[in-house]
Amino acid sequence: MCLPLVVLGWVGLRLARQERDMATQRTRDLLVARLADTDRIIADYFDTQRRSLATIADAMVSSPDSIRDTILRDPLIDNAFLLSPDGQLIHPNLNSLSQRESTFISTHGDMVRDINTPADDEQTATITGSWTVRFAGQGVNIFYNHASPGGQTVAILLARARWMADVIANLPDTPIDEEEVDTQIRLINANGDTVYAWGRLANDNDTQPFAELPISEPLAAWRLQYLINPDNLTASTAAYFNMLSLLAVCGLVIIVGGLAFHREYTRRVTEATQRVSFVNHVSHELKTPLTNIRMYAELLDEHIDGESDDKQRRHLDIIVEESQRLTRLIGNVLTLGKSQRDQLNVRPRPAIVDDAIRDVAQLFKPSFDRRKVSVDMNLDAPATVNVDVDAVEQIVGNLLNNVEKYAAQGQSVTISSTQTDATTTITVADQGPGIPADQHERIFSPFARLSNHIADSPGTGIGLTIARELARRHGGDLSLVPTDKGACFLITLNTPAAQRNADA
């Protein structure tokens, strides 16, 4: 039981974990796609600037004297280089630098060398230019490079604070009463500092980003982060735990069920065993006193025979009859117990069947006389055969008992026996009320009685069951023969012939 559980658990766990990882990855991909949308907003802004900067650059080329003015007027431009086709620096004019230009040259002057050597034909052909990023001062510095058709080169430095403010202006703001959102997107600069954030997190600090995306040119050193409250990964986490708990429950059910079943089984077996042994024990205990009662009753019967009055005799008869009944009953119960334990055996011995029948009929005579039931005996089984006399007595006794109980009003019972080679047939017929057709089989079931009213007649309902069981064990059967009036039982027994010399 344990091994399948373990295997089940391990496989289930792996599946659940896989499922959860896949779900997490799906969520992550979704969020990265959203970040990509934001990236497009930023990229669009720089594209727009590039177009207007191209126009400005061309104007710078055509009138270098107005460059200072242009720079002063345009909030987005910090400063600019203008190089002649042969790489000479036209602006700023090194002979008359303003303070701003001095700072500009000292910070970015080395760029001039790099601009000086454009890649052969490419740059002269392009009209709209490209971005260059340099790290200096506060962080990222963005240059717009432009090669004019005439061969001059322009490099325009964007005012840092300005493009940052513009980018922020284009990004979403956070609605003021959305306090339950619990997600946040952050714009992170090259140093890892947050430049701008939108959305709201319940706990601001120490939240690892769930998804990240670097931004397009020229802000490639920056990135976007998507932060969510990890407790909110409901879909995947919940499924994972659901799977796990389901597995656990199944496993538990199996274990508990198994244990319970085992216990129940053991208990029942124990109980049954106990009950049977109890029954046997009790029956045995009952039998002994009964035997004594019968014995002394019969002795008394012989003693007073012929001398005492009828009343005494009658009382004695009743005592004997009742004790016989009890004995029979106990015998039935014991037999039933044995039969249930599959320990019922018949012991055929050489004997005469008719003798057995006469003996048992004799037992019932006083009762039948009292009830005014006449007994007709047509016995024709005189051969000595192998037969279990006790079984015969029990079977016939049960049948006669039934007649006594249920068919006494018929005033008659006929017992007949015949024999063929190895089979003895006995019939017991009465003139009682008979048995309804739909009960013909049921009467042989244990504990089944035609009526459950205790007052109707005493009995436990096991008489016919025993009788049939015994008959069958004797190689024969007990059945009900259809009759017009009353009931007729047919007993067949397997009785092979026996040697007269065997033990009697």
Partner: protein
Amino acid sequence: MGNGVSHHQTTNRKSAPSLTIVLQTSYPDLTTRVVANRNIRWCSNDCKDVDTQIRSKAMNAYHKTLIVACTMVALATPSSAKQAKLDVSLAHPTLLSDSPQTTYVKVGLTGFELAPNEKRPPVNIALVIDKSGSMQGDKIEQAKTAAINALNMLTPDDIVSVIAYDTAVSVVWPATKLTDKVSVRNAISGIGAYGNTALFGGISKGAAEIRKFLARDRVNRVILLSDGLANVGPSSPTELGYLGSSLLAEGISVSTLGLGLGYNEDLMFNLAQASDGNHVFVEDPNYLAHVFKREFNDVTSVVAQEIIIRIECAPGVRPVRLLNIDGDISGQNVHVRMNQLYAGHEKYAILEVEVQPGEPLMSRRVANVNVSYANLRNGSNDSLFAYADADFNPRPSVVESTINKKVMAEVILQIANLQNELAVRLRDEGKLNEASRVLKSNGFFLEQNARKFESRRLSERADSNFQQSDSLDGRDWEKTKKSMRGYQRQDRGQQQVGSLGPN
């Protein structure tokens, strides 16, 4: 004696009627010039007729009366083209003739007054309010109340947007005409405080809202209220300064109101200084209502904006530095931006120059000044021109006696401010004693000159300096520095108030 010929040009849409006054001078070493903003014909012994805009140097009683008469006549003349008044003056109208001398050129602009029944130019204001955790409680409540009350000074023609920021930025009320005051009020009332401080983001969004209705005929201003340190986004004073100057180039000024003792005064000062807005230290939230009213009052009295001043120094004159404002000096040219000019109120820029010795008794051009600005009253682009000439004299006493006291007082004020900045730097480096010494000596400097140039402002500042030199310790410094920054901005930008509170 040669008198310089100077030109005055106005490129107005409407032509101004001219008034002709003829003056004659008889003093060879003094020239008489008249200050007026009307067209005046002046002629020297040569009696040349020219249209001039002239400035006064020294006058005797006769000329004073004449000047008064002229001025009265001038002002009585009706004019449909009101303009700002440009005033270019030298601290030392007479310079030493045998050695180089440092002097100062003051370029002053005064806003014109509107007629009593004239409607003021509409405004475009973005209120940017700090709602970080430190603002919780009384501060945010007072801020909201103050903002709501100040809205009553505006009309449905004005455009207002409200931005609130903590870790993230919320546009509480996007830029719209103020036709529905109740809704704006409700939006402001709904602001609650918690979180960090994304000041840069707040300003960016505020500027974005202003840009929706950015126009030359509107007064465009961001008003920032903050009580804390910026900790999300760029937060160095330098970066915020750069942001300020780029906004100035667009015609947007940022006024910064610092509340309490926890904000970064360098950051707030830089932002206002660079964008030509106000910076005020508000110690007590109870004064917020007053501050907001003053600020809105300023905004609603702007008559000219987007001012570009170009100073061209003559040969032999070297521009050294600008004292109270940022600008670009390249060669002989100086480029200065200012933004918003209030009616009847003067803003100025002072340039320190080194002048080479000149011929005694010769008058020489020192600087030509061109100013252009957007006239909010009639939507036109006005240009003004003025210049400054100087005489030379070998006698120091003469030079001394002709000093322009008013200009010199303003020069001293600005120099003292620069000195104070040195003291602030020293104190921030932990050098309390040195800082105290600088403040004290600066105080004496101010005191001396206060007497010499008869300036009340200078003696007030002297007193402040002495006070500040004693309040450099620990918690005191927080407060001292903030009020210093407030005064600094007040002096440099000629704003009305620098610091508000029980101090």
